[in-house]
Symmetry: C2
Subunit: 126 residues, 2 copies
């Protein structure tokens, strides 16, 4: 499993692990039902304490991303696509709203925002 951890970051290690896994689920690099590395193996792999991995997995489970089964392992939970879509829309709205608010505050024409969208829209497709 791909997992980049910065030990010096101010972001807690368990948060980095969470973000990493959520990101992989969102990008379908991890699929529904797929098994995650066991707590102990991931612990050895990235040299992080078992308890820290456990904390990350616990929170991911309580947030509905994964499911742990004692004795078997930890698996990617079925995605509630509608819920995900709603969360994503909310996140997008937040970004746009903040951008617009900043434009107003500093008198930047909103046309520049639409231009930025076009630029990133092109530059982002691979």
């Amino acid at each position: 499993m791909r997992m980049m951890i910065s030990n010096s970051s101010s972001v807690p290690i368990y948060e980095q692990i969470k973000e990493n896994i959520i990101h992989q689920i969102m990008n379908h690099e991890l699929l529904e039902g797929e098994i995650l590395p066991s707590i102990r193996s991931l612990s050895k792999d990235i040299k992080i304490s078992v308890m820290t991995i456990k904390k990350a997995y616990d929170e991911l489970e309580s947030e509905g991303y994964i499911t742990s089964i004692q004795g078997k392992g930890t698996f990617v939970a079925p995605q509630n696509t509608q819920l995900v879509q709603e969360q994503v829309r909310r996140e997008i709205e937040n970004h746009i709203e903040k951008a617009v608010t900043l434009s107003h505050r500093f008198q930047i024409p909103v046309e520049e925002l639409t231009q930025l969208i076009e630029i990133f829209d092109r530059g982002d497709e691979e």
Copy 2:
């Protein structure tokens, strides 16, 4: 001075104070050269330890927002408008880029983003 502090927030108090003052400077509610409340008076006012206020002011000073003069007080530093504009543009670009990336990842047409801009653009002017 207007200052809302949430004691239960996960955001540190000194960070909340910083954000609050930066926001007021950005919105020209605090003007260049204007004097800020003294550390002790603000401490009494919002019932926060002197040292916490000091920490907030220290960081604001090292970030160039304010200037402290021993025995006199703490003042809003002259704004480097060009630098501010650049920072704002960078922040706006970040928001737009994230919104576009999410749209791509979840196959939401970017046209919806431009629509959102229009909506917030209208809704935001008072």
